[in-house]
């Protein structure tokens, strides 16, 4: 009676401790942490692929959906076993620093330039560099990820190829939001802006409002994904056997076939290319 105020919480803590214990016990099973990008999660690829991995390999894959730059940093700190990202230049830097063991190309899709259906800047059907130059010239609103993600890195490279120093020339039309692909699309939908997106996330995205694809099919919009085991030499606790097993499966004919089989409304989202040594 006197200390009732201690009793209710004590009961609560017992229940929740039991639940947490179960959650931790679950963690004792074979599991790896994969630092990846928002596109692989937001497109639904992992939701489709990971149950297959669990069934075939008995490995539970815990995915951190972070954007390429952050995912590589998470791995640098030793907080992930495998990285699965899409910015070849950043991946090669990661390898050169000794944080990764080996890079395996896994699959590709492409970026698309998205904007409002009425296309105020008039970029529809142009090549991507002309389209960006037009957006800049007309100061049409453009949403940039601004988060060092693979898509952001690709966007910056495209501005550069278009001869525009966007870091210097950006005006109020250029909004760096520092968030994931979905958030950027939400913002573009709400504000009638242009935005560069990976096709996978776009196809899976639900809140399109009057956004549509305006520029696509340009070779410069190619988007390659790669996977790497985090170096056990740098971080001895890395689960190298399980991590390598996951990578080996992804690039195996079986894994590649599974990736090709992921479709939304009959449309394939990712194209396997583990057998392409230049990818």
């Amino acid at each position: 009676m006197r200390h009732w105020s201690m009793k209710a919480p004590a009961i609560a803590v017992l229940i929740s401790a039991a639940t947490l214990f179960c959650a931790q016990a679950q963690a004792q099973e074979k599991s790896i942490v994969v630092a990846s990008t928002t596109s692989t999660q937001d497109s639904g690829l992992f939701g489709y692929l990971l149950p297959i991995v669990k069934q075939k390999l008995g490995i539970t894959v815990k995915v951190l959906a972070q954007g390429t730059g952050q995912a590589l940093d998470t791995a640098r700190r030793g907080d992930a076993d495998v990285v699965f990202v899409h910015a070849k230049s950043a991946e090669e830097k990661f390898l050169a620093e000794g944080f990764g063991v080996k890079r395996y190309p896994v699959m590709y899709n492409d970026f698309v330039l998205i904007g409002p259906k009425n296309d105020p800047a008039g970029i529809k059907g142009k090549d991507v560099l002309t389209a960006l130059q037009t957006i800049k010239a007309k100061a049409a609103p453009f949403v940039s990820r601004g988060d060092r993600s693979g898509t952001h890195i690709a966007e910056l490279a495209l501005w550069q190829k278009a001869g525009i120093d966007v870091a210097h020339d950006k005006g109020s039309w250029y909004k760096e939001i520092g968030q994931g692909m979905g958030a950027a699309l939400n913002m573009a939908a709400a504000s009638g802006s242009y935005v560069l997106a990976d096709r996978g996330t776009w196809l899976a995205f639900k809140n399109r409002a009057d956004l549509t694809i305006l520029v696509e099919g340009d070779k410069r919009l190619f988007n390659q994904y790669g996977v790497m085991l985090v170096s056990p030499a740098k971080h001895p606790h890395v689960k190298k056997d399980l991590g390598q097993a996951f990578i080996d499966w992804l690039v195996s004919p079986e894994g590649q076939h599974a990736i090709a089989g992921y479709k939304i409304n009959g449309q394939q989202l990712f194209y396997p290319d583990a057998d392409d040594p230049n990818a």
């Binding site: 009732w4 209710a8 919480p9 942490v33 815990k62 951190l64 700190r77 939908a189 639900k206």
Partner: protein, 233 residues
């Protein structure tokens, strides 16, 4: 308006079908936030009471600090806990980053100042009324702590609920230290953030509705338990 009706319908369907993934998410949210707020309470309530009962140098400073920390930004707490628990951080060898345990730690750190500050404030009046009587027999201040906490238990309870409310509604810290891993560290709030980013706004709002209902049920149930235990509101 269709967004809201869609969300209500989605929420109802999710509840009626007892969606198994949703059930896991709800249980984890409750487990993490309850454990964290209980930890914050067990540490914070004696501390807050001691700040009333004892007189010592630096007491005023501690009270100011506890009150200032009421506005502790979750995202900063998340970042600090992340850096501490990261494999490259001082506590990295524990290997608990991106686990529910890390989420409990972050939320307990957020809840503790709330408990300390609220308990201190509510105990001040109680102590002013009963303090002299409790000390008059020459009892030590330590001996006066349990009875004064018992007298002020309504206040303690409010402090606990405030800490729980902070925890269950919080997303900034746990999304950093938990990583929003499906079936493992995904809670109601991080799931809402995820569905929003996927553009599935009606599902996100449906989860929000369920979270609010859940939070009301927990607070209501706590009040009922409290009343049955004390016989008073």
């Amino acid at each position: 308006m269709s967004d809201f009706t869609d969300a209500l319908r989605t929420a109802a369907l999710l509840i009626i079908n007892l969606d198994p993934e949703l059930r896991g998410i709800v249980l984890l949210s409750l487990a993490v936030s309850l454990t964290a707020s209980v930890c914050a309470f067990l540490v914070g309530s004696p501390l807050g009471t001691a700040l009333v009962v004892y007189r010592f140098r630096g007491r005023g400073a501690l009270i100011v600090i506890a009150n200032a920390l009421l506005g502790l930004p979750p995202v900063v707490v998340g970042l600090v806990v992340y850096l501490l628990l990261s494999r490259s951080g001082p506590l990295g060898s524990l290997g608990i980053l991106f686990t529910p345990t890390a989420m409990v730690i972050a939320q307990a750190l957020l809840g503790a100042p709330i408990v300390v500050a609220l308990v201190h404030r509510m105990m001040t009046d109680v102590w002013a009324t009963y303090g002299d009587a409790l000390l008059v027999d020459g009892a030590s201040r330590l001996r006066a702590m349990p009875p004064i906490m018992s007298i002020g238990r309504d206040g303690l309870f409010t402090a606990f609920l405030a800490a729980f409310g902070r925890a269950i509604a919080e997303v900034g810290a746990i999304i950093i230290v938990g990583g929003n891993i499906r079936d493992y560290t995904r809670t109601m709030t991080t799931a809402i953030a995820l569905e929003t980013s996927k553009g599935d706004l009606s599902l996100a709002l449906a989860l929000g509705i369920i979270l609010i209902v859940l939070s009301m049920i927990v607070s209501g149930a706590s009040l009922v338990v409290a009343r049955s235990l004390t016989g008073r509101w």
